[in-house]
């Protein structure tokens, strides 16, 4: 049974007609082509499909898209401000917190939600908040370091008055991060 619904994703409004049984994950990936959000189990076990719904991390594989039509959704594609990556995205690259990178989108939106409520989270706070996001490559240690580094950088800047404390997703100006971290198109076998 097809249903029409309006979704607000990454501050853009979408009007889609989808099967009512589709999960938010399926609608994001298949209908909106926002493939940054991944899947590892489709049963709410791995955390790979985490997105933010009204700022709260949720497992998009367990939600029907129809049920959240009024909410504001943020995916990994909406973490950056235009071409300027979120500080967390920068430190994940900088410290090698993404190896295969498959868990990174879910890990990153969870971490972003954490920083929204706790500007300088302690190690154990980070571990507990992210314990629903599995990673098989890193042993979590570089992820922990990257979150701490990003949190401290953002908090330092906020305290120095460089950013509006109310800024929902604090961003670093694009010019600040080095050329070595700019994503390079075409560095892969063409797909």
């Amino acid at each position: 049974m097809k249903e029409r619904l309006q979704l607000s994703v990454n501050d853009e409004d979408y009007d889609v007609v989808v099967d009512g049984s589709k999960t938010l994950l399926e609608v994001l990936r298949e209908d909106l082509r926002l493939t940054g959000t991944k899947h590892g189990c489709e049963l709410g076990e791995c955390g790979t499909c985490t997105v933010l719904v009204d700022g709260e991390p949720v497992l998009s594989c367990l939600l029907l898209a129809l049920d959240i039509a009024d909410a504001s959704i943020r995916t990994i594609e909406g973490l950056a401000a235009g071409s300027a990556p979120h500080e967390l995205q920068i430190t994940f690259g900088e410290l090698g917190a993404s190896q295969c990178g498959y868990c990174s989108p879910g890990m990153l939106v969870s971490a972003a939600a954490l920083l929204e409520r706790s500007p300088r989270p302690e190690g154990q706070e980070i571990r507990e908040f992210l314990s629903g996001n599995l990673c098989r490559c890193t042993g979590y240690l570089k992820i922990l370091e990257a979150i701490e580094l990003a949190a401290n950088r953002v908090a330092d800047r906020r305290e120095a008055g460089e950013l509006d404390p109310e800024h929902r997703m604090p961003q670093r100006p694009a010019a600040e991060h080095g050329p070595d971290l700019v994503p390079v198109e075409g560095k892969r076998g063409s797909a």
Partner: protein, 808 residues
Amino acid sequence: MSADDPLYVIGTPAAKDDGLTKSTGQEIYADDIDLPKMLYGKMLGATVPHARIISIDTSRAEALPGVKAVVIGSDMPRKYGILPVSEDEYPLEIDRVRFVGDPVAAVAAIDEATAEAAVRLIDVEYEELPGTFDIDEGLRPVDEEENRIHDYGARDNVHKLVNLHFGDVDTAFADSDSVHEGVYFYSGNNHLAMEEHAAVAQYAASGRLTLWSSTQTPHYVHKAMSKVLDLPASRIRVVATPNGGGFGGKSDPFPHEFCAAKLSMNTGRPVKITLTREEVFYMHRGRHPVLMWLRTGHDAAGAITALDFKSYVDGGAYGSYGVASTYYTGALQTVTYKIPHYRFRGVRVFTNKPACGPKRGHGTPQARYALEVHLDKVAEKLDLNPVTMRRSMLVDEYTMTANHMRITSCGLDSCLEKIATASDFANLRGQLPYGKGIGVAVGSYLSGSGLPIYWNKMPHTSVDLKVDRGGGVCAKCMEIDIGQGSNSVLAMTVAEVLGLTPEDVQLVVADTDTTPIDLGSYSSRVTFMMGNAAKEAGEKISAMLVAAVAAKLDLDAASRVLRHRRVEGRTSGEGMSFADAVLLAEAMFGQLTATGSYTPPRLAGPYKGSGVGPSPAYSYSVAAVLVDVDHETGIVTPERVWMAHDVGRAVNPMLVEGQVEGGIYMALGEILMEEQVFRKGMHKIPSMLEYKSPTFLEMPPVETFIVESIDGEGPFGAKEVGQGPLLPMPPAVANAVYDAVGVRIDELPITPEKVMAALAELAKGRPGRYGPAGVPDIDWGEPIDVDPVWYDQPPEQWVATTRRAETD
């Protein structure tokens, strides 16, 4: 560049080239591919573990609206298998299924839901056959030939038997001051890569097939595709997409890859098949369960005089890498300690369960666990410090082992020294309060297999470089980054040789049409082998640039160097920019391109089976683990890990640390909780909720020590790091558990139940041990007696020996 020139790129911690691509969600994995008119495929798996297929009726599925094609086994009647000696699989089985989940049919439909509905409409009639579910059952004689799982192998359901004898083990035991025995079991487990396997196939009107797949081995998939689909290899292009984790689990050609291709050929439309997590658990190819028995002889000082080792390998339903896995359970015991006499007997049985294959460490973690726990017990009996005892009998650099493995660089003693000091082992072992314990163990792994999977004399890897007039360099290689950072290694190596930064190097990788050969991301081979090829290619380009600059400036070519994006005099600094040098060189030589290749030296020993184990270099690791064991619950909590790893040279120390930490993490899962559990062939826990793996909360702090032994043959001295650090972890934890509460858990995983059972035994005054009681007595056949190469034989003799026979 000369060996004395400083390194500007190699050895400097650097972000991976794809770091931001991945952290921004821009990476395109196989399941992210969406092509016009694409169909979705779904496979139907067997519902019984062992049966003859009487009939398959696909008519109801074909009649379902939205279904575009259905294929069954007879549509692809050519067998394949990753090893030429065990080509025993069809993409879809034709007349017999051998495990629950064994694919028998596949459907392509307009969407995934329709494809799923369609496979449920396929009617398969089975005639069940007796099932074989564990090692004991696999060793039993089979009553009727028809009931064997396969019609090949050593006998009955025995797939492979190995019986190798180097030297004179029995005499050595008789002459030993003490002899010790033990029995161990290492459970099977899953790679659990976060990305489920996926493939997209597109058969174009031109008659060319393209397959995008999350595979670690595009070259082998390419070969298998050509055979199974009966298409010339020249009409097939395989592109490996960035793997969302591999760990060995994406190293075989898989049924869904062939099915997507065949369905695309039948429909003329692209077809995507993505496995569900449950299907991944059944496709498996993970760690083999292995039962082991070993006996060691020791002299009065504790040094090993001889080793006798038996392994019983539960292979599952197909060959996969199993012949190699079996040999690997006996290959690398000798590369850490001097073992003058060695006997290895191994057997792999077929069982009606998903086939096992390679997982991080491939066949060697099981044996390493048994050996290192055993040595901990021997040290205690001989009243020796386990570190001191190990340090007294380590192999020497540039020697040979009894089973003809060539040792080059070896930083094992340095690793042991660092770990003993950092962990304060001597002061903690045996002296911590009850419930706290510390354990130590060592390990070693290959830097790539010395021999290819199919016998040939060609290079194992090649790198093409093309220099752009703007000063950029494009490096092409069939290597595939599975998260370990091989792309960065390629970019950094080329940048180092050409005096550039990694960002100046564009990469084209993992594409059988456009990139030169690399055998794949397995056996920890890429840094060592591709690195050497990239270095050679870079040096060819460098020579052209230097010649052109020297001619232009009328200077001595020998004193030119490439650094800081310049070609200049080593001391004078006189020269020009890299980009200007490129223009001069292209005018002199034509388009600047160069290829470098790497072929390992001939390393196989003079006996059948000697192709498994030789490597151009071995990495070495030492782990110490501090654990807490709750004697009321049996819960083991690793509190701290120290790991030293001899990586030869750390090309990118940050990525080396990442591999060490990842290896420790994966090992902790295998040690404490992960296990493939079956009941009558049905997987009991085929989900990520029930198959427990460590979360953020279970990962202890890690202190990593990188040891650089600068290998004589590795690129800039580099060796492997992707697999080695897993190896010492299981025995180190088991040894720490003993130190904490005095029980020996000789069977992985070390679950709370096993700890409690062993503690209960201890409380009754019996040995506090949990583990297998013994091993089956079987006919091992006639041994292959091989003259050992004594560990202290001078190099000139072992070089001659290794060149005597090329392969078995």
